[in-house]
Amino acid sequence: MTDKKPSTAEIMAMLRKKSAEGASAPPPAPATEASAVPAAASAPAEPAVTPATPAAKPKGTADIMAAIRAKGAIAPVAAAPPAPAAGTPASGTPAAKPKGTSDIMAAIRAKGAAAAGVAPAAASVAVAVAPKVAAPASAGKSPAEMIQAMRAGSAVVTESAKPKFPPKSAAAGKKQELPRRSFPAVFFELICTPYYMAWTLMSAIGGLWGLGIARFMMPNTVLELPSKFKIGSLGDFPLGTVSEKFKASRGVWIVHTDSYDGQNVVYALSSVCTHLGCTPSWLDAEQKYKCPCHGSGFYINGINFEGPAPRPLERVGLVLGADGLLEVDKSLKFQEELGQWTDPKSFVRVG
């Protein structure tokens, strides 16, 4: 463990050795290498541990590793006195399981604190990890897990040690909360590591991009004319005709027909194909609307009969005003397949 840089393979090997030791360690030797850290912290070997305190300010993964290595190195020394591990029972408390790098760092910092004198805290953190390692030790997966495993390894608390002093644990868990530095400072330090800086910058740039793209959703134009407009009197639209007068400007045909339900009515059909939204053309000779995009065809009353369009053209609102003029209201929509063509606002009865 005193090696400068253990490779992954080495770490694994070490771990396997450790867990083997932990498993086979005879009960009469309660202070195995494993319980070294808590033991050390609990007083007898205090001077030996103090050099480990610099590890309290880890900057990156490398530091974490270094810290761990340092701990490991100290462990054998500290292990000498057969002190029943003071902190071990803390395992009973559900001390937060480390989830990410920040947790790991917090844990290590806590350990540093422990070395300085707050023994139980260290124990609680260390032990929290220990059970995890026991099983998967031989199959460590990610670097983070490896590190956890390492830490646990250096503090492997044999199961036998656990149940000894359960009462202490609660208090121990509480004490751990004491932060050494103020929160902003820690936060600032975190932000300043290149890793976090990169992520922060990336998300900031991504956010700006997102905003820029969102801007495209609102083009700088006014597309909609007022939705209500007068189109003339009933007499302008003889029976059986389709007026294309308002198609180019407002996208509606004015239809006067009696081919739907046999009623003599005038209504406004929206000139948007119900297939994909192209504009069909009215073919007078064939008496049908025909879409140039995929060939949908509609009868004069708007009912679809050929091509892929799944439903009839939509009607828009049409009312006869008090001044005798017809007024189209494009903000209203009436779909035949939903039974909305019976709505009195969707047509004007003639005669």
């Binding site: 994909l276 504009t279 053309s281 140039p292 060939g295 892929p308 939903l338």
Partner: protein, 435 residues
């Protein structure tokens, strides 16, 4: 304008002449070569007369006879015949691959293609469509695509023969090494320069086909997607927009990405071969040639105003009348067979009763679609795809089977539309859901 088009026609012709002449010299056997020489000489004479007289294409000496035009029109006008023939050609290509990949046959094919194009150019309507700057690259693509398919088959047939005779593969015989620098890099650079030059010339001579500014209420007639999406547009004729525009394209892309994971055949790696990879080659080429390239051709040259189909030599008449009335499956069942009105969900009633009414109406179609995707893969596993199922395991097999079924959906729907005027198998316009 006419002169310009005449020039296009003429350039293509003279280009052809040169090509012929060179290749004729390559033939060693005298009797064969003489035939070619006569042919080439004839073409050259023709070119010279045209070169000197510079007449309008309608007055070229050699033109397509009317009966030919008429019969071609009949074929192309009708989607059924067109699609049937393209599938038949596809099958023929695979069955007769040995014969078709002979050099002479390939050359004759190329000649026929050029002749067909050159002669068709003398027809006014054909020229209008094919000569459009938009469509020139598609003609090019047809020739290039045809050539590469031919090349593949040639090499594959050669290798298959070698394997059958126990000889080493062609790729193994040509194992001597070539240096990246300078050989490959020089070749690449030359290609780059030539292509750039070609693009510049092209850009100068054929004007970009820009149209008037877009308008929300005016759609050009016909309105065509970019050529590479014409397959999708053709799909839209047979399917609901969300299916043909969203689901199927996604399935196509994902299916293509899934190929390496589905494919368990380790043979055919690093050399051309047909016999070793029959299944994959046939499936791929079927999807590519009749279903993708075929649809591009259909969309470019045959779909005219109002998205009607027009023969190659037919005038694009906006008022051409085509009766395409079609019905949903539910209408066929309820109105035609049971002679009852369609059950209609009452918008005022609760969701459940609406669902029931819709299911009453569309039940058969829904069950058919579910059966298609749930039962068919199992049936296929028990019958002709049994080997695949055993080799691939459940998940991979299911992915493969469903991809195949999705691909088959297009031809199936096309045939149904033509045969029964079927619009949608499941039609629930209330929920914008149609299959």
């Amino acid at each position: 304008m006419l002169l310009f088009l005449a020039n296009i026609g003429w350039t293509m012709r003279s280009y052809k002449r040169d090509g012929y002449y060179e290749s004729v010299l390559g033939f060693q056997h005298i009797p064969k070569a003489t035939v070619w020489a006569f042919y080439a000489a004839f073409l050259m004479l023709l070119a010279v007369t045209h070169l000197t007289s510079r007449s309008a294409p309608e007055e070229f000496l050699l033109r397509l006879p009317e009966w030919f035009k008429l019969s071609v029109d009949v074929i192309f006008r009708d989607a059924r015949i067109y699609f049937g023939l393209s599938v038949a050609a596809f099958v023929g290509m695979i069955v007769w691959r040995e014969f078709l990949t002979r050099d002479t046959v390939g050359w004759i094919l190329f000649n026929v293609g050029c002749l067909f194009l050159g002669l068709s150019m003398t027809d006014y309507d054909f020229r209008q469509i094919v000569g459009k700057p938009d469509n020139v690259p598609i003609v090019g693509m047809l020739f290039i695509g045809g050539y590469f398919t031919w090349l593949y088959f040639k090499k594959a047939v050669d290798n298959d023969r070698r394997v059958a005779e126990g000889r080493p593969l062609a790729e193994q015989e040509l194992k001597e090494q070539v240096l990246v620098w300078p050989d490959l890099v020089y070749t690449e650079m030359l290609c780059m320069i030539l292509l750039t030059a070609l693009l510049i010339v092209w850009g100068v001579f054929l004007q970009a086909p820009l149209e008037e500014p877009g308008q929300a209420v005016k759609t050009p007639n016909p309105s065509k997607a970019p050529w590479y999406f014409l397959g999708l547009q053709e799909m839209l004729v047979y399917f609901d927009p969300w299916l043909a525009g969203v689901v199927l394209p996604l399935v196509i892309v994902q299916g293509l990405m899934a190929i390496p994971y589905i494919d368990f055949n380790k043979k055919g790696n690093g050399y051309y071969s047909f016999a070793d990879r029959k299944f994959s080659v046939i499936i791929f080429l079927f999807g590519f040639i009749p279903l993708w390239v075929g649809m591009i051709v259909l969309g470019t040259f045959i779909r005219g105003p109002n998205w009607n189909m027009f023969g190659l030599y037919e005038f694009w008449d906006v008022h051409k009348l085509e009766v395409l009335n079609n019905r949903n499956l539910s209408e066929i069942i309820w109105v035609v067979n049971l002679e009852q009105p369609l059950p209609k969900p009452d918008p005022a009633s609760g969701l459940i009763s609406q669902c029931l009414a819709i299911f009453m109406r569309e039940g058969v179609g829904i069950l058919m679609v579910i059966g298609y995707f749930m039962a068919l893969p199992n049936l296929m596993a028990l019958t002709f795809l049994r080997k695949f199922y055993v080799r691939m395991g459940v998940i991979r097999y299911m992915v493969l089977a469903n991809l195949l079924l999705f691909m088959a959906l297009l031809p199936i729907k096309m045939v149904l539309r033509w045969a029964f005027n079927l619009k949608y198998i499941v039609a629930i316009p209330e929920w914008f859901f149609n299959i």
